[in-house]
């Protein structure tokens, strides 16, 4: 095994397996650093072209080295450059797509909501300086940094601050922040989204042993300081995707931070001075620098300086030269580099090609915040322009590239941010660093060639300059269009390194200035985030609240199957051993029609409406008159939206002159309360009315069937239950089974029926007493649906869809003719609501009495389908088997339906349309004879 570790580097040895081979690394390595230390150069094969690819960068900007973690838990699409090595890691290289885990994730994910005065993103020199300055004021400061350790690029460059190593200085800054009670430091935390009103979202990868694996931070900040640094920029040249081609700064980082040499003999290809620092460090570490190809023709000053002393003494500097080709070894990695320039063309033997095309400030979050970018002609880069939110940018993120400049900028920016948030910052010293002067950088995006088929501008998506030129040749001019046409910049790295280069190539090809062309839009997330982290604890049972009634335990213990109605669990039916759903429901239906049944109706919405103007208020909202209701009586009512369409229905009981209890459908309770509040607050604030949800205060047992009176009489000996004393649509307070109860005589089945309401905590005792009589069969929502449909009672939201008026439902009787106005009344007088071809609620009887029509099926006029388009006359809204009718039946909304009663229509179900007969929507006991028992 080849060790590429610098001499003297030691630490805890960790074993890992990559692509089926065993290796060793050191604690503190990333997987990428450990692979390079083991001499692994081609780490993946590209997905489309199958070209070998190496490690290109040293952190989250890496375009190539995607891996699948296999152990301890399968995770796809991680970057080898950011995965911290641990003992027992098993990973494979990914060319393209990863694989999701085949087992449940045992880890926990969490979320934190936080507020602060100043959020500093990035703990490099500028961010640390900004955070310590701001925190000195007493402001609440959060410093979030995506690396495991603070310092930003300092461990990569080995520079010193205040006379000590950068790492030592950074540790000192963290210690200072730890002494500030209002400051919080979040390492391994990537701020990936910047939204409205300084709302930023970050993901924290927590250390082993923490209570959760990852945590999402949702941070609202008064001021934001972005100290996100800069990415080194690649250059487009032939073969720029070969393993061994690497950013100069990345090779420097591997040497200084991890003690790993990325090669033995290197050629440097640069447009500026930065790469010389990298070359100097690599030379000092033992890498032979074969030559420096500097695109600047006036770099002679450097040439002379280099010749004098230091590790680069004697290194050949080829000014005005570019790389025009890369020769490869059998494994596809770099074996030689061809340079061309004024001295002609030369092939230089090397296994490493260090590239530096200048630097791009990391403007992603600034751009996400709505800030404008501008192209700086001296830096040859897009830098932050005018801000749209309370945000400032410090250091390399705004194009300040010297360490001394970043420290100075950080202190100034952190001070400004804290003061803008209302704090006073005491005089704060600027940490000292060596001042250097640099020659102006050259500008080179693209090495001209005859053939651009291996000049890559997106290594992951495998897009070349030739592809971009095909796009511009096809007439595309916008970078957004070229991005979508070529897919450049759409991979996991979202073009972090190559995006600006792609813009430059488009500008070059279309003959415009890159500053005028701009970049593609920077969108969240800045780096990939797992769905598990975003979901946090909102999964499984915690995904959405589950509401159950006080009788739920009984239902579950007695084998009920449940139906979801909104967030409620309602008993659907109670199968006995050997029964399927159909048999059970037919049995339950028969029990109610022939004996007595009980249903848990506790989920119906209940709103207490009180106040001197309560009756007037209900008159305005319901289509019918509520003010004439007597205390002790109950009325069924319908509410419409202003457009005249039915919105909800239910009963209203008058408890006192100034007090009503309105019930709503189970799923619509919150919407009805909101609706009442909206009208009270925004249109009728003069009405003295208070609305309170009391849904969960009550348990309600519906007792229905011809024997229900006898059952109630037995349970409530003090209550006069005869029809004259306790008429239909009235309520009485009484003791039922010894429990204080409010008993209503209402029916949703057409049978003699009661609804017994008790305190929720007495619900189970009441239910057990009712069922304990031995003559009452528990029934569920399916039976309730069948029974109400036999009677033609619509379910709002099932038999209606927001386009249905009370008249369409055949419920003119529920619409007051006397009231001057109610919500929706004016709409009932529109021409559209009286059209004769409106859809009416009707009944359907399939000619085959055993055929159950599917709900949602369409109705047509002819037995053979004509050529499309076919006009549908309506659709089936409810469909059941009826025990009482001894056959199937359905409800439907049918155009001009009431005029079609007796007609034969057809339902296309795949084969020949099946015939059905249109009937009145009330199919059972149309004269209402069973209501009084």
């Amino acid at each position: 095994m080849t060790s590429r570790r610098r001499e003297g580097v030691a630490g805890e040895t960790l074993r890992f397996r990559y692509d089926g081979r065993d290796y060793e690394g050191l604690r503190g390595d990333t997987l990428a650093a450990a692979l390079l230390a083991n001499g692994v150069r081609a780490v993946v094969r590209s997905g489309g072209l199958g070209r070998p690819r190496g490690i290109y960068a040293s952190w989250t900007e890496e375009p190539n080295a995607l891996v699948q973690i296999e152990e301890p838990f399968p995770e796809p699409m991680l970057q080898a450059t950011t995965v911290e090595l641990y003992d027992g890691l098993v990973a494979t290289g990914l060319g393209g797509r990863g694989r999701l885990a085949d087992r449940p994730d045992p880890a926990r994910y969490d979320a934190v909501h936080a507020h602060c005065d100043v959020l500093v993103v990035g703990a490099g020199p500028a961010g640390l300086a900004a955070a310590t300055a701001a925190a000195a004021s007493g402001a609440r400061v959060i410093l979030a940094d995506d690396r495991p350790a603070a310092g930003g690029c300092l461990p990569d460059t080995g520079e010193t601050v205040d006379g000590v190593s950068g790492t030592t200085w950074a540790a000192g800054m963290l210690a200072e922040l730890a002494g500030r009670p209002e400051a919080r430091v979040l390492p391994r935390t990537t701020v990936f989204g910047y939204y409205d009103d300084n709302y930023l979202v970050a993901v924290e990868r927590r250390e082993e042993g923490a209570a959760s694996r990852e945590r999402i931070w949702r941070i609202r900040a008064r001021r934001v300081v972005l100290a996100t640094g800069a990415h080194e920029r690649p250059i487009a040249f032939a073969g720029n995707d070969r393993p061994g081609v690497m950013l100069a700064g990345a090779a420097r980082a591997y040497a200084n931070r991890y003690g790993v040499l990325a090669g033995r003999r290197a050629v440097v290809f640069t447009t500026g001075d930065g790469a010389y620092d990298a070359a100097r460090d690599l030379a000092a570490a033992g890498v032979e620098i074969a030559a420096v190809a500097d695109v600047r023709r006036d770099a002679h000053a450097l040439d002379e300086a280099l010749a004098v002393a230091g590790p680069l003494a004697g290194t050949e500097v080829l000014t005005g030269h570019v790389v025009t080709g890369v020769g490869s070894a059998p494994d596809g990695s770099v074996a030689s580099v061809t340079v061309s320039g004024p001295s002609g063309e030369r092939e230089i033997e090397a296994d490493l090609l260090l590239v530096s095309g200048g630097w791009n400030p990391v403007v992603h979050l600034f751009s996400q915040s709505g800030g404008a970018l501008r192209f700086d002609e001296e830096l040859h880069a897009f830098v932050p322009g005018e801000a749209a939110q309370a945000v400032e940018v410090a250091g390399a993120a705004r194009g300040v590239y010297t360490l001394a400049g970043c420290l100075e900028d950080g202190v100034a920016t952190g001070t400004r941010a804290a003061e803008a948030a209302g704090f006073r910052v005491p005089p704060h010293p600027v940490p000292a660093a060596e001042r250097v002067t640099a020659l102006p950088s050259g500008r080179l995006w693209l090495v001209p060639a005859d053939d651009y088929e291996t000049h890559f501008v997106d290594l992951q998506r495998e897009v070349t300059v030739a592809d971009v030129m095909r796009a511009t040749g096809a007439g595309l001019r916008s970078v957004e269009h070229v991005k979508r046409y070529t897919t450049a910049g759409t991979a996991h790295d979202q073009g972090k390194l190559f995006g600006v280069l792609t813009s430059a190539v488009v500008a070059h090809a279309t003959g415009v200035e890159i500053g005028d062309l701009g970049t593609t839009t920077f969108r969240a997330p800045y780096a990939p985030v797992s769905f598990a982290a975003l979901a946090g604890r909102d999964r499984g049972m915690l995904h959405d609240p589950v509401r159950v009634t006080s009788l739920h335990g009984w239902h579950a213990a007695h084998g009920a199957l449940f139906e979801n109605v909104g967030q409620w669990k309602r008993p659907w039916y109670y199968p006995r051993p050997g029964e399927d759903m159909e048999t059970a429901v037919l049995r339950e239906c028969r029990a109610v029609r022939e004996g007595a049944g009980a249903m848990d109706a506790s989920t119906l919405g209940k709103i207490d409406v009180q106040g001197p103007d309560a009756a007037e208020f209900l008159d305005r909202l319901y289509t019918n008159m509520m003010s004439t209701l007597k205390v002790g009586a109950i009325r069924y009512g319908v509410m419409c939206r202003a457009d005249g369409m039915v919105f909800d229905d239910g009963t209203v009981m008058r408890l006192a002159e100034d007090r009503f209890l309105a019930t709503t459908t189970t799923g619509n309770a919150a919407a009805v309360l909101d609706w009442m509040e909206e009208w009270l607050q925004t249109e009728w604030p003069s009405l003295r009315v208070y609305c309170t949800s009391v849904t969960e205060h009550w348990a309600t047992v519906a007792l229905a069937g011809p024997r229900s009176r006898e059952v109630l009489a037995g349970l409530a000996p003090g209550l006069a239950v005869d029809a004259a004393s306790f008429p239909f649509m009235t309520w009485r307070d009484a003791e039922v089974a010894g429990i204080p109860a409010r008993v209503c005589r209402i029916s949703f089945s057409g049978e003699l029926a009661y609804e017994i309401n008790v305190n929720a905590w007495d619900g189970l005792a009441l239910w057990e007493a009712v069922v304990g009589t031995g003559v009452v069969t528990p029934y569920g929502t399916e039976t309730m649906h069948v029974l109400r449909a036999e009677k033609g009672y619509p379910i709002i939201g099932q038999d209606t869809d927001g386009t249905v008026t009370p008249a369409d439902l055949g419920m003119d009787w529920v619409v007051s003719k006397k009231k001057a106005d109610f919500v929706g009344k004016r709409s009932h007088a529109r021409a559209d609501t009286s059209r004769p071809d409106r859809k009416h609620l009707v009944g359907l009887l399939p000619e085959d009495p055993g055929l159950l029509l599917p709900e949602g099926a369409h109705l047509v006029a002819t037995s053979r389908l004509p050529e499309p388009p076919v006009r549908a006359l309506g659709h089936v809204t409810s469909s059941y088997r009826s025990a009482a009718l001894g056959r199937t039946f359905a409800l439907a909304l049918v155009s001009g339906g009431r005029e079609r009663i007796g007609e034969r229509l057809y339902v296309p179900l795949g084969g020949d349309p099946v015939p059905v007969t249109v009937t009145h929507h009330v199919l059972y006991d149309p004269e209402g004879a069973r209501r009084d028992g």
């Binding site: 409205d196 457009d643 909206e678 925004t682 001057a820 709409s827 529109r830």
Partner: protein, 84 residues
Amino acid sequence: MLLIPCPWCGPRDEAEFHYGGQAHVAYPADPAALSDEEWARYLFFRDNPKGRFAERWSHTAGCRRWFTLTRDTATGVFESEAGA
């Protein structure tokens, strides 16, 4: 996520609110007196400006009060914190 200045509770996350559309569209005093077109205008027609827009919000997950704010729809910035 917008930070919405509730006049009763102070600035709160957008997720606590329900949007109520254009403000100052009053329920007509006498709907019966309106022509079909005038009634349709009340029911169905709303402005959709780029720029200043007075709109209704309800702090549904907080104090449950309705209030009116003016917002620049291009920038998302609220103009005043006073309710109406």
